[in-house]
Amino acid sequence: MISTGDFSRFLETFAARIHDAKEELTQLDSAIGDADHGINMDRGMTAIMELLPGLPDGDAGTLFKQTGMKLISTVGGASGPLYGTFFLRLGTAFGTATEIGPTELAAGFRAGLEGVIARGKAGLDDKTMVDAMVPAVAALEAGVGDLPAALDAAAIAAAEGRDRVTPFVARKGRASYLGERSAGHQDPGATSTTILFESLRDALRAG
């Protein structure tokens, strides 16, 4: 079972990894977007780090709902509403539970993914964060019998999804303005989503 403390560690890990990847994400975004993805994600996750100590020990739902609202209020761009909606839906799915099992975890991430798709209107192969998130969530759902293996599979699936669409032409977001010129560039949103699933695996494994 996963405790709220474990999830806090996941957010801390995600924040630290985003901070480390700030330059890389911004670099990827310079090539096909507007050069702000790393800066924006780092600003948002820094705000989450400031938020965490003030949150009372409680349920996972509150943790993620607060995280989502904070991201929507601090990040801007496309990543603020998208990651914000993801965490809001995750928090709503977890509700007042303080212990989350693999089945609830997978269901929560499915709800988060559906929120991202509803907000951003991107589908598979549009070359966005959705391309990393769809296979990762499917891996969580397929692996409910063995949580550590499922977390590992999800992180690998996210990275594979990210790399699978690198040769593609972007069809959503600012990269779509490049048309054919976007092909061959790694998508910054799929990259930060891969970092999210790697952080989940590493934080929960450490626990």
Binding site: I32, D36, I39, G76, G77, P81
Partner: protein
């Protein structure tokens, strides 16, 4: 990076404080970083707000005042503002007649404005939105995010602001904004890149002998990179795709807007305007009104954009109506 700033983190806040200090007769700056017309809300008047990333000054904050915007929401540099800002701005300008959101077509802007509109409506404020998407450099298809909102936004804000000032209701103001969108097209180009302060280095590399045709207002790459040409040829490259849209015909009256991207001197903009005038005159199109200057910029990028708006008597009347904002003033 060489910039006249203190720190990248404080740039937007300090610029807003500077604007508030420079124009206390026109605007006020409120938390969470919104620029509001000094006398807002005006009872019975439709509120008109816009917003977007910073770095495009004077758009949008410089257009807040009589006859134009009631409020502007600046985000971080090149990053759309957050819903909290648009919600606060909507409330600050709501005089009971509803509020129009003028949104440039970027994925982030659309989503953040959408969330804000939902929240404002939940609080009982009537909100309408019009998306400006006038950049012909971008293919408009189901497989892209659609055309970017660029120079046409400035013209829409002026014309729509005038109608709201004259007492038009929300439905009328919204339809007018859509009419501007339907009749306006733009295209831009860059000679140099810009540097996002927080990134610290130029967004793209471009040599002294190259130019980027079809560039956006965030230094995002355009249609193609090619060898630098004389101004007249560059103007041809921008005006031709606009005219191919099928909106403008011989006998039409247009507003021609030649806009600097931030790093281009006015003398070069007039060289370009001369050629725009020559091309349009040759096609039998009359430039009834014009705007030449840097009004929607991309930090210190050198380059320009050209915007054409087909005019009728209604658009002409609202364009000519009095305006008094930090960046645009006439008739007052």
């Amino acid at each position: 990076m060489k910039k006249l700033i203190n720190t990248p983190e404080r740039e937007v806040d300090e610029a807003l404080a500077g604007m508030a200090a420079a124009h206390p007769d026109l605007i006020r700056v409120e938390e969470p970083n919104i620029i509001v017309r000094k006398d807002a809300p005006r009872p019975g008047k439709v509120g008109v707000i816009s917003g977007g990333g910073s770095g495009h000054e004077p758009m949008h904050g410089g257009f807040v005042g009589l006859g134009m915007l009631d409020a502007a929401c600046p985000g971080a540099v090149f990053t759309s503002p957050v819903p909290d800002q648009m919600l606060a701005a909507t409330k600050a300008v709501n005089g009971g007649a509803g509020v129009l959101h003028i949104v440039k077509n970027y994925t982030g802007d659309i989503m953040n404005f959408e969330i804000a509109a939902e929240l404002a409506q939940a609080e009982g404020i009537e909100v309408a939105s019009v998306v400006i998407a006038d950049d012909v450099a971008v293919k408009d298809s189901l497989y892209t995010a659609g055309r970017r909102g660029v120079g046409g936004t400035v013209l829409a804000e002026k014309i729509v602001g005038a109608a709201a000032e004259a007492g038009a209701d929300l439905k009328t103001v919204t339809a007018l904004c859509q009419k501007v969108q339907d009749n306006v097209r733009s295209m831009g180009m860059a000679l140099t890149s810009c540097t996002v302060p927080a990134a610290g280095k130029p967004t793209f590399d471009i040599s002294d002998t190259e130019m980027e045709i079809g560039v956006g207002i965030h230094g995002e790459p355009g249609r193609r990179r090619e060898a630098l040409r004389p101004a007249d040829e560059i103007v041809e490259m921008l005006v031709t795709p606009i005219l191919e849209e099928g909106i403008f015909a011989s006998g039409d009256r247009v507003l021609a807007f030649v806009n600097g991207m931030g790093g281009t001197p006015l003398i070069e903009l007039y060289v370009a305007y001369r050629k725009v005038n020559e091309i349009l005159t040759g096609r039998g199109i009359t430039i009834a009104r014009n705007l030449v200057g840097s009004y929607i910029t991309s930090l210190e990028m050198a380059g320009l954009s050209i915007t054409l708006l087909k005019l009728d008597d209604e658009l002409l009347r609202f364009w000519d109506a009095p305006v008094k904002t930090p960046a645009l003033r006439w008739g007052v």
